[in-house]
């Protein structure tokens, strides 16, 4: 059965068949409740001990829909059980007690109880418990809105299962990467940690990453350790663990870059420095896009805590301006420094946003991720052939939007787009749809994309939760992707991106991509195994944001969530509104 639980046959007559776990040390009540619930046509399992209940729940991760528990129990405090269940399993929990004292009830609610019933409990009260289940599902669904992706993921990673929501994309990618790379300790740890306990994920915002990079550079890339970085960064709430894993990814990323830059020297002929706007976001090698944080540099939208949210993860998009090729070829650290250094000009946020919103650079960008992300993704928002609907055309929007954000960033028309052979784009989905065309075309071209091409469309990928919750997807810009072949980054990134892309594709409810597009996109992603980040984002602020850079970025920043909204004032990303969310 899938995580939503709505698809299994048992749920056809929902709420009949609702799987309830009742926990109460009082044998009499247990018997009565069991009978009552059975009368409601629910599937009942009884338990007289809290520990027993937890074991049962953990054993059958997806075996229950709701838990009803007494507050007073001999082996474990009911509130503790409530917490555990909520944290680990994210199931709705109803508390029961003979004591109706307000303070107790409040405590229950504070600990996350969906409801607090007073004994003696009436049948009618139990009859309504399905509403809590439904409510939670809807809530979750809205935020993540990634059922398909979820399923996709779950299929490929069965262990994720119910904990899917709690995983940040990064987690998934970590897991995947691990599989491919024979993983890093950190990833493993993170992965396993998060698999049993949801932890709020740290979202590496551009700003945070900058701090990180600065700290790294200060010490010396090779000698630096997470502790030192953490100390230098001075970010409250950030743990050594967070830094360590980030460092790991960063190192991998850099090594990949180096490897790639060596190979890629000639492949990006098309990149012209001249075309690069002065404040090329490319300066920011790593773009992190905090998926959420609107304007909050240090905020890490953290979706980890709320189960419902899709992981907000920064997508590190490395936007490498074509012109900075030389930089790219240099020592990585240096490059990074250069990149980060340049950011000081513009408003940090803006530049970061911008860089992260590389997409804003849109079509014009000659960003050659290629250097870093050799032909990973090229997003061409302004793809002539891509007829994004005007409303949804990101670059239009972006242009306007970004103008105020960062005057330096110029969004140039992407002439190169035109030069790209049509065959070089790989299309996602049916090409007849206007909005879809972008993506479609891009995808189609991906395979044959000439190496020289270096258009980059930044794509904003929004986390599912964000998309659904904040976006007004009136327009769903279809991401235009251009995936280049031959990228040496293909490895781990691909899978991650793939995952991510899947996820994102699923996300946007208002996405321009129709479900079929998404589907084909998914297929493409799967088949192609290319890192494709489809930013399905409809939002005024970000249209075709191009995570093309993902290729390079993803290794380091697993989540590709581009959320440009944060730049513009709070788009309602619920997750985004939290700063470094680490619990």
């Amino acid at each position: 059965m899938d995580s939503s639980g709505f698809c299994s046959p048992r749920n056809n007559a929902f709420p009949a068949g609702l799987r309830v776990l009742v926990v109460d040390d009082d044998a009499t009540w247990l018997k009565i409740l069991e009978k009552m619930l059975k009368k409601c046509s629910y599937e009942v399992t009884t338990c007289s001990l809290a520990r027993e209940a937890l074991d049962l729940l953990r054993e059958r991760k997806d075996g229950f829909d709701i838990v009803i528990s007494d507050v007073n129990m001999p082996d474990m405090d009911g509130f503790k059980l409530l917490e555990r269940v909520g944290l680990e399993l994210d199931l709705p929990v109803i508390m029961m007690s003979v004591d109706g004292e307000t303070s107790r009830v409040m405590k229950g609610v504070q600990h996350g109880a969906c409801d607090y019933l007073l004994k003696p409990i009436r049948m009618k009260e139990l009859k309504n418990i399905w509403q809590h289940v439904l409510r939670k599902r809807i809530h979750e669904g809205k935020e993540t809105d990634g059922d398909g992706l979820e399923e996709l993921h779950m299929m490929s990673q069965p262990e994720y299962c119910n904990d899917y929501y709690s995983f940040s994309i990064g987690d998934m990618y970590s897991g995947k990467k691990r599989r491919i790379d024979a993983g890093s300790k950190h990833d493993d740890r993170e992965y396993s940690d998060t698999s049993c306990i949801k932890k709020p994920r740290v979202v590496w915002t551009v700003d945070l990453h900058q701090k990180f990079v600065k700290a790294v550079n200060q010490t010396g890339f090779d000698k630096v350790g997470p502790k030192k970085i953490l100390d230098l960064m001075v970010v409250p709430g950030l743990t050594r663990e967070n830094v360590a894993s980030h460092l790991q990814k960063y190192r991998l990323y850099l090594s990949r870059l180096q490897k790639d830059s060596a190979l890629k020297d000639t492949s990006f002929a098309g990149v012209k420095r001249a075309d690069v706007p002065p404040r090329d976001p490319a300066e920011n090698m790593f773009l992190q896009r905090p998926i959420v944080v609107p304007q909050n540099d240090d905020r890490n939208g953290n979706c980890g805590t709320s189960r419902n949210e899709s992981p907000v993860h920064n997508v590190n998009v490395k936007i490498h301006d074509a012109g900075i090729k030389e930089v790219a070829l240099g020592p990585v650290a240096e490059q990074l420094k250069a990149l980060t250094g340049d950011d000081s000009d513009s408003k940090k946020r803006n530049s970061q946003c911008l860089s992260s919103n590389y997409s804003f650079r849109l079509p014009s960008t000659d960003i050659t991720l290629a250097d870093y992300v050799p032909s990973q993704y090229l997003w061409t928002t302004e793809y002539p052939q891509i007829q994004c609907k005007p409303e949804s055309i990101s670059h239009m929007h972006l242009d306007n939007k970004f103008d105020h954000l960062s005057p330096k960033v110029k969004i140039q028309k992407n002439e190169q787009v035109n030069t790209m052979p049509a065959s070089s784009y790989y299309s996602i989905g049916p090409a007849n749809r206007k909005e879809d065309n972008l993506a479609d075309r891009e995808f189609q071209r991906i395979r044959e994309l000439p190496q020289a091409e270096s258009e980059v469309n930044l794509f904003t990928i929004q986390s599912e939760s964000q998309l659904s919750s904040t976006q007004q997807f009136g327009q769903t810009p279809s991401p235009t992707w251009t995936i280049r072949n031959g990228s040496s980054f293909a490895g781990p990134i691909l899978l991650e991106d793939l995952e991510f892309a899947h996820r994102n594709i699923r996300l946007s409810s208002g996405s321009a991509l129709s479900s079929e597009d998404k589907e084909s996109l998914n297929n493409v992603l799967q088949g192609v195994h290319q890192p494709i980040n489809v930013g399905i984002h409809n939002g005024e602020s970000f249209d075709c944001f191009d995570p093309a850079i993902f290729g390079a970025v993803t290794p380091l920043y697993e989540s590709l969530k581009f959320d440009y909204e944060f730049q513009f004032d709070s788009m309602e990303y619920p997750v985004l509104d939290q700063s470094l969310f680490i619990v």
């Binding site: 009082d26 009565i32 003979v98």
Partner: protein
Amino acid sequence: MDRNQMNRQLANMRKALFDQGYLDEQFVQLEELQDDANPNFVEEVVTLFYRDSARLIQTMDQTLERNPLDFAKLDNNMHQFTGSCSSIGAKKVKHECSQFREYCRQRNGEGCRRTFQQMKKEYAILKKKLEVYFQYVRQVALLK
């Protein structure tokens, strides 16, 4: 006695239990839960209650004999017991329980002991009455 008479008597017995405050609405809930799948549900529950709560009463008895009195423990146990009583709708017993808890809060050992005895009395009376009642219920059922 013919069936109608027995039925009437049974109804009267039942009514008296409610009128005299021995049972409350919860008992009706239990009756409503009774069905073909569980034809003796109410009696089963009551039996379970008495069996289960006997242990609790014994614990509280022992706790009350200690000196000094552990009011927290007593209160906790009584809280548990109250929950159990509420399961069958033992109204009078419940009342004594609240009294007991009140004395616990006041740290009134004497009050606690007194109330506890009272509670046990009510507990026993109800048990007897219900035993008779269920006997009658079974008899009437046999007649059908």
